[in-house]
């Protein structure tokens, strides 16, 4: 490669610049810089193709441009300035990635796909004006919303109200045909799904969230309800709270509506993600806790990466790393503590691990420990657990056809288990799978694994 195409010798600075913590560089230099960093860059991809069969979009479409290797190749072409980041090819294929990271664990060369994708999306996003972005206005509006807690709260309350009024059901039935209609129909079904019965339809009982007498003394925990989880899945948040308390944690909730920045990072909104991360770090520091816990796998995955986000920013690097080292998924905390067994719960449940727990955090083993604490529960694994459900945030709304096709596979695997409910630990997945089930007319419930444990405790206490 010649000097015009890649700044040689500049690799260190550009590598530093590749970290979201630094400011104002040509975003392409970010990718170019990451080509050089042998340990983690684009060059570690040896083009072996092992990741192809793991990728849901490749499996669905068969086009290598929609495969991990293909996307990395496009990134490399942009970094080498052989491809315009505003080109349809780059925009479309970066956008179409689910971000599920199923390609990471199978990669023999340990290419850090997830973080490369974030850099690539940043390049893609800055290459075209907002109105021309292929994912369109939906994403932009959502991102702006999620940046402002107040606006977000209003929007999500509106969604909750709409859900209560059964508007989604109506919208789903009335939605027009075509691509837009498909997206609308799916979005409505997702909202409807978030209102599922859950495992235990009890109102939150603030009185019970204090430490139970005689319970073991566990860690002090800052609990992040997450924006979507907190608003649309309040019942899950409450269940997590009760279950953690029951197991000896001292639980304090982080501010409502506080977003972790994951959605922004995934979409390439670099500044947005960093602002939110700084806010969360500050908040946790003020609370002075041992652990930062969430029950949304997507949030957990992002917060565990804050350390990397700020690696090159001296002012924040240490604080971010300290924060990330404290982050746990709720099931991880429970598994570490060795969950207190609950009452007998005679049910069959299909377990499907969220990608952000399995591939990004590589921590889905903890869920089995949690479910094993429930006597009588029969757990059936969903076939092909590595495969994404197609949820990927709001993918089902922005890419109704592809998201639908990916989701259809998951929904039929879930139904094939013959279980009465399905458990998964991420709000996006709960909505995605739930929406898919609604659209095929299934009556299966979608729950978070902690809800089952919570119900089992309730049975033990003879509440029902």
């Amino acid at each position: 490669m010649s000097d015009e195409t890649r700044p040689r010798g500049a690799s260190d600075t550009s590598r530093a610049a590749s970290r979201p913590g630094a400011t104002s560089v040509d975003p392409i230099d970010i990718l170019a810089g990451r080509m050089d960093a042998a340990e983690e860059g684009l060059l570690t991809c040896v083009h072996c193709g092992f990741c192809l069969p793991a990728c849901p979009t490749y499996r669905e479409l068969g086009d290598e441009a929609d495969s991990p290797r293909g996307r990395l190749h496009l990134m490399r072409a942009v970094a080498e300035r052989r491809l315009d980041p505003a080109s349809d090819a780059f925009q479309t294929h970066m956008d179409r990635c689910l971000g599920c990271r199923a390609c990471e664990p199978v990669c023999p060369s340990s290419v850090p796909y997830g973080s490369l994708l974030e850099s690539a999306r940043r390049v893609a996003r800055s290459a075209v004006p907002a109105r021309k972005r292929s994912a369109g206005r939906t994403v932009e509006v959502m991102l702006r919303l999620f940046r402002h807690p107040l606006a977000l709260r209003v929007a999500l309350s509106a969604a909750r109200l709409a859900r209560a009024l059964r508007l989604p059901t109506l919208a789903r039935r009335l939605a027009p045909g075509g691509r837009v209609g498909e997206g609308l129909r799916f979005g409505a079904a997702m909202l409807e799904a978030s209102g599922g019965r859950g495992a235990r339809p009890v109102a939150p009982d603030p009185g019970r969230t204090s430490r139970l007498a005689g319970a073991p003394v566990g860690p002090r925990v800052a609990f992040l309800p997450g924006c979507v989880q907190g608003s649309l899945f309040g019942r899950v948040v409450d269940a997590s709270d009760r279950v953690l308390t029951r197991n000896g944690c001292d639980v304090a909730r982080m501010g409502a509506g506080g977003c972790c920045g994951a959605l922004h990072a995934h979409a390439g909104d670099h500044d947005g993600s960093l602002d939110l991360a700084r806010a969360r770090i500050g908040e946790a520091e003020r609370m002075g806790v041992d652990l930062v816990v969430t029950d949304a796998a997507g949030c957990g995955a992002a917060m565990k990466e804050y350390g990397e986000w700020f690696e090159a920013n001296p002012a924040w690097a240490e604080r971010a790393a300290a924060f990330s080292s404290k982050v746990r998924d709720v099931t991880e905390v429970l598994a570490e503590l060795g969950p207190v067994p609950g009452g007998e719960l005679r049910r069959t449940v299909a377990y499907d691990p969220p990608c952000h727990l399995r591939h990004a955090q590589r921590a889905d083993g903890a869920t089995a420990t949690v479910l094993a604490a429930i006597p009588g529960l029969e757990v059936r694994t969903v076939a092909d657990p590595d495969a994404c459900c197609g949820g990927a945030g709001i993918y089902g709304v922005t890419h109704p056809e592809l998201g639908g096709a990916v989701g259809d596979r998951k929904v039929s695997e879930v139904r094939a288990t013959g279980a009465t409910c399905v458990a998964t630990g991420n709000p996006g997945c709960m909505m995605q799978i739930g929406a898919g089930l609604i659209l095929v007319g299934s009556r299966m419930d979608v729950v978070h694994p902690v809800e089952l444990l919570d119900e089992s405790y309730a049975l033990l206490d003879g509440e029902r």
């Binding site: 490669m1 042998a38 340990e39 060059l43 570690t44 991809c45 040896v46 083009h47 072996c48 193709g49 092992f50 990741c51 192809l52 069969p53 490749y58 479409l61 068969g62 086009d63 290598e64 441009a65 495969s67 290797r69 293909g70 190749h73 496009l74 072409a77 080498e80 052989r82 491809l83 315009d84 080109s87 349809d88 090819a89 780059f90 294929h93 664990p105 199978v106 990669c107 023999p108 060369s109 340990s110 290419v111």
Partner: protein
């Protein structure tokens, strides 16, 4: 980029090739979209970039367009459209190839099989599956495993690579030491020729004996002969158990010596794999850690599979050999998880090398395994002289080396050094009696090195056969053969001096013999070194050349067809031209494989000398016989060679005494007491003779007067019953049936069986997916008129039920003619 410029557009020196266009001809995109759907056609220059290279990453060239058809029909239509536009086509599977085979030549259209990923049929009883070419290797493996079956070829890339790509490269894998490479398992396939015509090859349409082996050359043809769209693959039963050992050594040469010792001792592990120091470092620092300790210079993985009762003894012997060769430690995998982790590390070794350097020069040379230690030392020496890091990971049991040179292609001086070193390594291997590529293929990468293993006559013959399959030069131009086929002066190629006597090489599991010595004398020479061969010639007096032509394959169920036993040969074509084909290594994909054309009853020429694969002599050979019962069902378990005749159902057991005891007990439980039970060479001879229906015919008929027809019932029929009906309806004088491979032979006197009866039989069989064919007279002389008429009738009726086999007949005619044309006779 500093990657070498893609080679000049390949004209193959043929005037009918259009010159490379730079844009997609008007209307073609539209037509392709109509055929395959809009999402299945890529023409955008940005998206096309992702198709510019394969896993080798050394060559870059984007095609004009990519089309991704979903099935044979769509693929055929797409090929016709591209053909009409005058362009050539590059097939692509998963793009995991390591020789640049799936990289486009300028101005070509790529046809990807990613959407052709359905398994079309799986018949556990017949141990066969039919798949679309884009089905992944591990997809098939995991489909058949729950039924106790295995798809044996297991390339390290099996999770990603397609079976079509495996067929095109004749892929091997760690377990191919015992089970053979892809070719052995391809029973039939559907391909598309340059005109877009669908052609059926092998399977029921061309039972053995009916003409040339057209499958042989097609497997390993690297997409240059046509697009494979569907494949019928044989499966083998899972074995009872496995034992996996890990020997740790200070040097790779020591590990290589352990390999030689293990093989020389008559052990045949399922796999023998070595990883060297650099590779260990890479694997251990990746998430795929295999538990190799740091600091060791080489690790040898030894795996045995088979009967539980024998495995521990085999493992103990192998362990002793490792220690004797200098192993510092030998570990045994304690459980399945341990074993898988060990393999995982080996299988992901190549990928983890990405952590060592940005680029890899991937090597794939194969050498006779007895000289492995010397060759390894030679490679170390090259590494030192050129100051390079070479990470070696290889299929040691097959002598197949992957000394991968680590480098950074942005450093031009380094790249140049790497290329010289790579050439030198190949030269070392070829000089040692090896070849330039064992499983990755020639592709673009090693074209110039083909000169090391083939002279001008061999290259001309390869080009002629390629042109017979692809007369218009439509398929994957510019691959495999060097540009200067016609003018090349045989640079570097020195044929081995002819042999005058039988030479046995036990550590290499091979034997070399002149074509005119009696087959029996070869067996005697092999026996002295405790080796044997499964080829059963009928009579020990027959010369080797006839034995290779006439073998009826009584042991085929266990050892594969005769082609599997031939590593190399010097042949004489009808025009008197001498060709040196293959070599003396077990894996060889350097250039197109013509050996099959010179074997079996349809052989084109005469074998002057051959290098054959030998096997460790079994301790015990036993034949058990029960009353005949053609119910078509083979005995369960590992496919023993079996034959059912009018009199008995005979089963051959061979192996160690303990194993034969075990199997005898099992069979007695399943079938009751046998009526007879013989041991030794005579029993084996009688068993083999039972396969030849002519051998036992009463009344001393002249050979020319007997018609032998090979019958293969199709998947749609109840085979045993159907074969019984055939025997009854054609007034068979004698017959034999192989219940493992599910095919039979029927002998009738030419005067007794009517054309009408055979026509009816042939049509019914073909209708059900099977077929039949009359074997050429064993004497090699022309058949009498009556027999010739019968042959034609059977052939016509069989072809009638397989209309798509017409293309194969055309190819066969062109192959035969091409030899005349290529060598100036009859053209």
């Amino acid at each position: 980029m500093t990657s070498p410029a893609p080679p000049a557009p390949a004209h193959r020196g043929r005037p009918d090739r259009p010159s490379a266009p730079t844009a997609l001809p008007a209307g073609l995109e539209r037509r392709l979209r109509d055929i395959a759907g809009a999402g299945a056609v890529v023409t955008d220059s940005g998206r096309l970039l992702v198709y510019e290279s394969d896993a080798l990453g050394r060559f870059h060239q984007a095609p004009l367009a990519v089309v991704l058809p979903a099935d044979t029909q769509e693929a055929a239509a797409a090929v016709r459209a591209v053909h009409d536009a005058g362009l050539a086509i590059v097939p692509r599977g998963a793009g995991t190839g390591l020789s640049g085979g799936a990289v486009a030549a300028p101005g070509t259209v790529m046809l990807g099989t990613a959407r052709m990923n359905r398994v079309l049929g799986f018949d556990p009883a017949r141990r066969v599956a039919r798949v679309q070419a884009g089905v992944r290797n591990s997809q098939l493996a995991s489909l058949v495993r729950p039924r106790g079956l295995v798809y044996a070829p297991d390339p390290s890339s099996q999770a990603a690579c397609t079976l079509g790509g495996n067929v095109a490269e004749n892929a091997g894998g760690p377990h191919c030491l015992k089970y053979g490479v892809t070719r052995r398992y391809v029973q039939g396939l559907t391909m598309i020729d340059g005109n877009g015509t669908v052609v059926e090859i092998g399977g029921g349409s061309r039972p053995r004996g009916d003409g040339l082996d057209l499958l042989g050359p097609l497997v390993g043809s690297e997409g240059c002969f046509g697009l494979v769209t569907e494949i019928e693959l044989g499966l083998v039963p899972e074995t009872e158990g496995v034992r996996t050992l890990l020997g740790l050594f200070e040097t790779t040469a020591e590990a290589g010596e352990a390999v030689t010792a293990i093989i020389s001792d008559g052990l045949l592990p399922a796999a023998l794999e070595i990883v060297d120091r650099h590779t260990i470092t890479a694997v251990e620092s990746s998430p795929f850690r295999a538990g190799y300790p740091r600091g060791v210079g080489a690790a040898l993985v030894v795996e045995f599979d088979g009967r539980e009762s024998e495995l521990d003894a085999d493992a103990a012997r192998a362990e002793a050999h490792c220690l004797a060769a200098g192993a510092t430690e030998v570990r045994r995998a304690t459980d399945e998880a341990d074993r898988l982790r060990l393999w995982q590390g080996r299988k992901k070794a190549f990928g983890t090398m990405g952590r060592l350097a940005p680029d890899l020069m991937v090597q794939d040379a194969t050498v006779p395994r007895s000289i492995l230690p010397e060759v390894l030392r030679g490679i170390d020496d090259v590494a030192a002289r050129y100051d390079l890091r070479i990470a070696n990971v290889f299929h040691a049991g097959d002598g197949n080396l992957h000394p991968n040179i680590l480098y950074d292609r942005r450093d031009e001086e380094l790249t140049e050094r790497v290329e010289r070193a790579a050439g030198e390594i190949m030269k070392i291997c070829v000089d040692a009696g090896g070849t330039i590529t064992g499983e990755h293929g020639v592709g673009l990468d090693k074209r110039e090195y083909v000169h090391l293993v083939a002279g001008p006559d061999e290259l001309a013959a390869m080009a002629a056969v390629r042109d017979a399959y692809d007369p218009q030069g439509r398929w994957n131009p510019g691959k495999v053969l060097p540009d200067d086929v016609a003018t090349g002066s045989g640079r570097g190629f020195t044929p081995r001096p002819p042999v005058t006597r039988v030479e046995v090489s036990a550590p290499d599991l091979s034997v070399r013999a002149p074509g005119d010595v009696p087959w029996g004398s070869v067996l005697v020479a092999m026996a002295e070194d405790r080796q044997w061969s499964p080829i059963a010639a009928g009579s020990p007096e027959l010369p080797v050349s006839d034995a290779l032509r006439l073998d009826l394959g009584p042991l085929e169920a266990v050892y594969g067809p005769v082609r599997e036993s031939v590593l190399g040969a010097t042949v004489e074509t009808p025009e008197g031209r001498r060709l040196h084909l293959g070599g003396r290594v077990v894996k060889n994909v350097a250039g197109f494989d013509l050996l099959g054309l010179f074997l079996g009853l349809g052989a084109i020429g005469r074998i002057e000398e051959a290098t054959l694969r030998s096997y460790p002599m079994p301790d015990v050979v036993e034949v058990l016989r029960w009353p005949a019962d053609v119910d078509g069902s083979a005995l369960p378990g590992w496919p023993h060679a079996q034959v059912v005749t009018g009199e008995t159902h005979a089963v051959l057991l061979s192996g160690t005494a303990a194993w034969v005891d075990h199997e005898r007990t099992r069979l007695k439980q399943a079938r009751g007491a046998p009526v007879s039970h013989d041991r030794g060479g005579d029993a084996l001879r009688d068993f083999a003779r039972a396969f030849d229906p002519v051998a036992g015919m009463e009344g001393g008929v002249a050979a020319e007067d007997v018609c032998v027809v090979e019958v293969r019932p199709g998947a749609a029929s109840d085979e045993g019953v159907r074969f019984g009906e055939v025997v009854a309806s054609v007034a068979a004088a004698r017959w034999s049936w192989d219940p493992t491979l599910r095919r039979g032979r029927v002998a009738t006197r030419a005067g007794e069986a009517g054309v009408a009866e055979w026509t009816a039989v042939a049509r019914t069989l073909a209708y059900e997916g099977g077929g039949c064919a009359m074997l050429p007279p064993a004497s090699g002389r022309a058949a009498p008129e009556r027999a010739a008429a019968l042959r034609e009738a059977i052939r016509a009726a069989t072809r009638h039920g397989h209309p798509e086999a017409a293309g194969a007949d055309r190819i066969e005619a062109r192959v035969r003619a091409a030899f005349g044309a290529a060598f100036g006779v009859g053209s």
